[in-house]
């Protein structure tokens, strides 16, 4: 037997034999057991590495042992089995380490570790099984070996869990057995082959095959927890944490999912299965499970139960990917096998840590746990975000491939399922993250002892898996990533090569990379408590590379091979302008906040989100490919949450909630849209996007998805609530810069200048202009200057949106229009930022020094004036540019002055408010001179920057025509007059202007919250009744055992019941008579 024939067997044995050995040694031989455990692990891993290398070189590894006549026990290594086997081998190591730490000095450890090893051995066997019967053998072995682990604690709950587990798995095993035997009888030895074996066999009755498929899927579905066979999984949570981790991430559910893949691809063959009409049904079940599991998870307060239902949902992604039946979806399903494993094991490790260290079992007890156990919670956060599908964590990659794969075969409904599931994931994960990080910890928790928050054996595994979850996401395109393996498998399965189309140039421009990496590195440095102070001071330094790049105009593109996200960065003329805007604002904001928030109680957190936001905003400007863009976009959106709720007041929390809800909704819409943009998965960079043939639904989704960020009317509700509650510099950034991300998105993805989209363009113009005016009306009613500014932002962004809409209507104008919009964006960004910062400056109006007072007043008025667009200001240039470029749409130009009137009203009102609130000297203004200096610099930038831009050069001259001066002057004057007339009414709190009674968003959100609360409560109770009390499938078992137990008391040993029922003599005679009669009369 050569090594090639032996190796698969050795791998299985390397997992099983240590288990057997562990049984033999006593409970007290801790050291020896550890050596056996870890040694077996490492040996197993080493062998797996050998195997992978060999398979990569095209060698064939197969162990074939005779089992039955015509039936062998086959262990075979192919790409698919390697995927699973390396996952189990690796996670086994981590789980072992974790379990050693977790179990400590409890009882029965020998038993635990023994069965643990056997369990992994069975999993490895499942992975390496080369035919269906071998698979079945290891599958059943897995059932047997996990049972002792589930009931390990030996209390009533775990015994009950064990019973339910057995009930389900035994039933599943029996059905699977029936299916396998039947199939074997029809089709012979059932060796797995890449394109299926059944299609090539003649003369099979399709009806039989369908029934067999149902049997097999039911059998496998039990372990894969397909609804309605999932009932065992949540109850199995009674097991210890490492077991749950293993059950959910590696062994059991994966075994089921893996089996589904095997059966669909390697036994039936995907095309054959599709021809039989089987895959759509499977896909439907998988989809139902995804949604159902997520919905149930929302209502669980028990953390592990929530995770369990999450598993129910997530594992079905694999089945879904398998069933969608396209190569790309296949890749998605398979890679999710690994990705889900890594992320879910992290979550369970963390849940175990919480329970072990602090005794926290419920979500409602998790307040502030992030402060007590930062490392664990960080790992949890990463994994949870990955589960939601937030890029660049691994979960996004699988979802991306699933979605593109679904589109490839026109299964649009899958997109809805994915989006719905992600939404639900967010609903049940994000609140955990929020309370864990932002609430105050329970004072009853013990103070930290020791170096780490928990024993290192409990900390290291989740930390590693969390990092891995990010790494496999980011580096998904490298050759050794799970994704590449999945592609290899799909290539074999479909008999075609499927590789990434984008050819990448391996050149890296350090400066551009530094732009993105510097803030990221700074934020990472915050993790170390010692560096915090230093980093906090050095925040402005993080902007430096960006400034250098923007000012010097480094037009290089930088491509990094092997990265799934972030592979290409680059700069062009337009993005340079945006980068200039961004870097300026960040620089000033960083200086400003250093002064403004010098007395803040949580500066490190602020800095962290500040830097992350910065990374995101730079990255999305520089990113030249879709996934990188969306990743940075998400990073920015999510980290802005931290800024929004930074003050921690009730208002800010409510606003933050609204904000994050809209962010998630936007993300989902954008996910769907971007999947549509990439369509066949081949488009990677912006250059590759085929905009001309963009489906109309994609464009709509893009408009709405980015519209949320850009504050488009109808989806703007979060904006006026979130912007005002953030700290002043953060509001400035939000309003000045981050809303522009929506604009950039439109720019990048919509077919601007390439296709005519009349309805979308018209809609955009309509919404934009309506927003422009309505925002003015509502803004005028605000008492809070920052809220007023937020409405002003909506109003101004409405103009930009309308501009984009115009570009869609008339593609020919786009070249000119684009630079006009750019100018407008820069102008608005700077001015709005200055206005927001001005709110912080305003208390200085009450300063003692009259010179300073005057200076402050002047500095406050300048940006307002620019905003209004008085002649010679940046606003004037921007408006002129817009007017000039929109000459083909005369009605549009007519509208612009009217908007200027509104802006004037708003600005006057703003200044008025500032003046009124800050007239009296404030005793302790937040801002000192350094902040004022930063503000001053910004104000000057507002004045100067637009003039300096190359794009604006053609328009500067036009601004100085007398006609245009007049054009920009009269609306301002008109506005001023109107304001002076209406000013008193505004302050009289008349019914119309009573903002508190007329806050649309507040009312809306109130009803929304009431609605959701009501729905949760009602649905939750019903579901509990239906599914938890009467455990769907296990109920017959319980009834049976109950009836057995009830009669047990009456049972007596000596006289068998049969005798009491029937006289044995009669029975004897009866049998004799039957025999004779049947023999005599039948033959």
């Amino acid at each position: 037997m050569s090594i090639n024939q032996l190796l698969p067997l050795l791998i299985v044995l390397s997992a099983i034999l240590p288990g057997v050995a562990i049984f033999c040694i006593g409970d007290h031989r801790v050291q020896l057991r550890r050596i056996l455990n870890i040694g077996g692990n490492i040996l197993c891993l080493a062998l797996i590495v050998l195997l992978i290398r060999g398979v990569h070189q095209g060698e064939i590894f197969e162990t074939r042992l005779p089992l039955l006549p015509g039936m062998d026990l086959v262990l075979h290594a192919d790409a698919l089995s390697l995927l699973f086997v390396s996952l189990s081998g690796f996670l086994w190591l981590l789980t072992t380490i974790y379990a050693i730490g977790y179990l400590g000095n409890t009882q029965h450890r020998s038993r635990f570790f023994g069965f643990f090893s056997l369990c992994v051995g069975a999993t490895v066997g499942i992975a390496l099984a080369g035919n269906l019967i071998t698979f079945l053998i290891f599958y059943e072995l897995l059932t047997l070996t996990t049972y002792p682990l589930v009931v390990h604690k030996g209390n009533a709950a775990s015994l009950r869990a064990g019973k339910i587990y057995l009930g389900y798995t035994m039933l599943g095993g029996a059905l699977l057995l029936a299916g396998v035997v039947w199939l074997k009888a029809l089709a012979g030895p059932l060796d797995f082959t890449a394109t299926g074996i059944l299609s090539s066999l003649p003369g099979l009755d399709p009806n039989h095959l369908i029934i067999i498929f149902i049997l097999l899927m039911t059998g496998l579905g039990v372990k894969a927890a397909l609804v309605p066979l999932h009932g065992w999984l949540p109850t199995a949570m009674a097991a210890p944490a490492p077991v749950s981790a293993l059950l959910h991430a590696v062994a059991v559910v994966k075994a089921g999912a893996f089996g589904i893949i095997r059966v669909v691809y390697d036994v039936y063959g995907i095309e054959f299965a599709r021809d039989l009409g089987l895959t759509p049904v499977l896909a439907l079940f998988a989809a139902a499970t995804i949604i159902y599991g997520s919905v149930r998870a929302v209502f669980q307060d028990d953390l592990k139960k929530r995770l369990a239902f999450s598993t129910v949902s997530q594992v079905s992604y694999i089945a879904l990917g398998t069933a969608i039946a396209g190569p790309i979806a296949t890749i998605g399903g398979m890679v999710h096998l690994v990705h889900q494993g890594i992320m879910k094991i992290t979550l369970f490790f963390c849940a175990g840590n919480f329970a072990e260290t602090l005794g926290v079992l419920k979500v409602s007890e998790m307040n502030g746990i992030g402060k007590k156990m930062p490392i664990t919670m960080a790992a949890f956060t990463i994994a949870a975000l990955g589960m939601i599908g937030i890029p660049p964590v691994a979960g996004f990659v699988s979802k991306w491939y699933l979605a593109t794969g679904a589109l490839e075969v026109q299964a649009y409904w899958v997109l809805v399922v994915l989006a719905g599931s992600s939404l639900l994931n967010a609903i049940y994960f994000l609140p955990i993250l929020h309370v864990a990080w932002f609430k105050e910890p329970n004072p009853a928790w013990p103070a930290k002892t020791g170096r780490f928050e928990a024993p290192w054996m409990l900390i290291i595994p989740p930390a590693i898996t969390a990092m891995l979850a990010v790494a496999v996401g980011v580096f998904a395109s490298s050759e050794v990533s799970p994704l590449s393996w999945a592609k290899l498998i799909a290539a074999k399965e479909y008999g075609q090569e499927w590789t990434r189309s984008a050819v990448q140039v391996a050149s890296a421009s350090p400066l551009i990379l530094a732009t993105v990496l510097t803030p990221l590195l700074f934020s990472l440095c915050l993790a170390a408590p010692r560096c915090r102070k230093l980093v906090k001071r050095a925040v402005p330094l993080a902007v430096l590379p960006a400034i250098v790049v923007a000012t010097m105009g480094v037009y290089e593109s930088s491509a990094l091979p092997g990265l799934f996200f972030f592979s290409t960065f680059g700069l062009d003329e337009n993005s340079r302008v945006l980068l200039l805007l961004a870097s300026t604002l960040w620089l000033i904001a960083s200086f400003y906040s250093a002064d403004y928030l010098k007395n803040d109680k949580n500066p490190a957190r602020y800095s962290l989100f500040f830097l992350l936001c910065m990374t995101g905003s730079f990255g999305l400007i520089l990113s030249q490919e879709i996934l990188g863009f969306i990743a940075f976009f998400t990073l920015m959106s999510l980290s802005a949450y931290g800024l929004v709720i930074h003050s921690g007041s009730a208002d800010s929390l409510k606003a933050g909630r609204l904000y994050i809800q809209w962010v998630i909704v936007g993300e989902l819409l954008l996910f769907a849209a971007i999947v549509g943009v990439a369509l066949d998965g081949s488009a990677e960079s912006f250059a590759d996007i085929n905009k001309k043939t963009q489906p109309i639904w994609v464009s709509w989704l893009l408009v709405i998805g980015f519209g949320i960020k850009a504050g488009l009317l109808g989806v703007h509700f979060w904006l006026p609530r979130a912007h005002p509650v953030a700290p002043v510099p953060a509001s400035a950034l939000l309003s000045g810069l981050m809303v522009k991300a929506g604009l950039i998105g439109w720019w990048r993805f919509l077919p601007l200048g390439e296709a005519t989209l009349l309805d979308i363009g018209g809609g955009l113009i309509f919404l934009g202009l309506c927003g422009t005016f309505l925002a003015v009306v509502i803004g005028l009613m605000q008492q809070n200057p920052k809220a007023l500014l937020a409405y002003s932002t909506i109003s101004q962004m409405g103009i930009l949106a309308a501009g984009v809409g115009a570009g869609l209507i008339a593609p020919s104008m786009w070249i000119v229009l684009s630079s006009a919009l750019l100018i407008y964006a820069v102008h608005h960004g700077l001015a709005k930022a200055a206005l927001f910062l001005g709110v912080g400056v305003a208390p200085l109006l009450g300063a003692d020094n009259s010179n300073k007072r005057r200076l402050v007043l002047a500095l406050l008025i300048i940006p307002a004036v620019a905003m209004v667009g008085l002649p010679f200001t940046s606003g004037a240039i921007a408006k002129t540019a817009l007017k000039t470029s929109l000459e083909n749409l005369p009605w549009f130009t007519q509208v612009l002055p009217i908007s200027a009137i509104g802006t004037t009203l708003l600005m006057l009102r703003f200044l008025d408010l500032l003046w009124r609130t800050n007239k009296s000297p404030s005793p302790n203004p937040a801002l000192t001179n350094s902040g004022l200096l930063a503000y001053g610099v910004l104000v000057f930038t507002v004045i100067g920057m637009v003039f300096w831009l190359p794009q604006s050069q053609p328009f500067i001259a036009a601004t100085f025509y007398s006609g245009s001066i007049w054009n920009s002057l009269w609306p301002v004057m008109l506005g001023a007059v109107i304001y002076l007339f209406g000013r008193n009414d505004l302050f009289k709190n008349s019914f119309l202007f009573n903002t508190s009674s007329f806050d649309v968003e507040k009312t809306f959100s109130k009803y929304w919250a009431a609605f959701t609360d009501m729905t949760y409560a009602r649905l939750g109770r019903t579901w509990e009744l239906l599914f938890i009390k009467y455990k769907s499938l296990a109920s017959p078992y319980f009834y049976l055992t109950r009836s057995l137990e009830s009669v047990k008391g009456k049972n007596s040993n000596s006289i068998p019941l049969s005798i009491q029922l029937l006289h044995p003599g009669l029975l004897f005679l009866g049998v004799l008579a039957c025999m004779i009669l049947l023999l005599a009369f039948a033959s």
Binding site: P1064, G1065, F1068, L1069
Partner: protein
């Protein structure tokens, strides 16, 4: 009705009678006697089989002899068990008294 048939019918009749006794008579000794009657019925059938025109088949005779020994052995064992149980029950009753 030939001689052979008379023997056979008698044998089967005894067998059936014994069967009834074994199955439906409660007392253990009667059961044992019934079993022996059944056995005699079987032996009668065998002996009837042995008789042929001209020759006597020795094989059924041998079978009957063997069968008798086995029947004796079985009966003895059953009797022993019966007595054993009886004694034990009596001692138990005596103890309980």
């Amino acid at each position: 009705m030939s001689q052979d048939l008379i023997y056979c019918t008698t044998g089967i009749g005894l067998f059936a009678l014994g069967l009834y006794g074994v199955l439906f008579v409660a007392h253990i000794l009667r059961k044992l006697i019934a079993i022996n009657i059944s056995g005699i019925g079987v032996f009668l059938v065998l002996l009837a089989t042995a008789k042929h025109e001209g020759v006597v088949d020795p094989v059924p005779h041998a079978m009957v002899l063997t069968g008798i020994v086995v029947a004796v052995a079985g009966t003895a064992l059953c009797l022993w068990l019966t007595v054993n149980i009886h004694c034990r029950q009596i001692t138990q009753q005596g103890e309980s008294k």
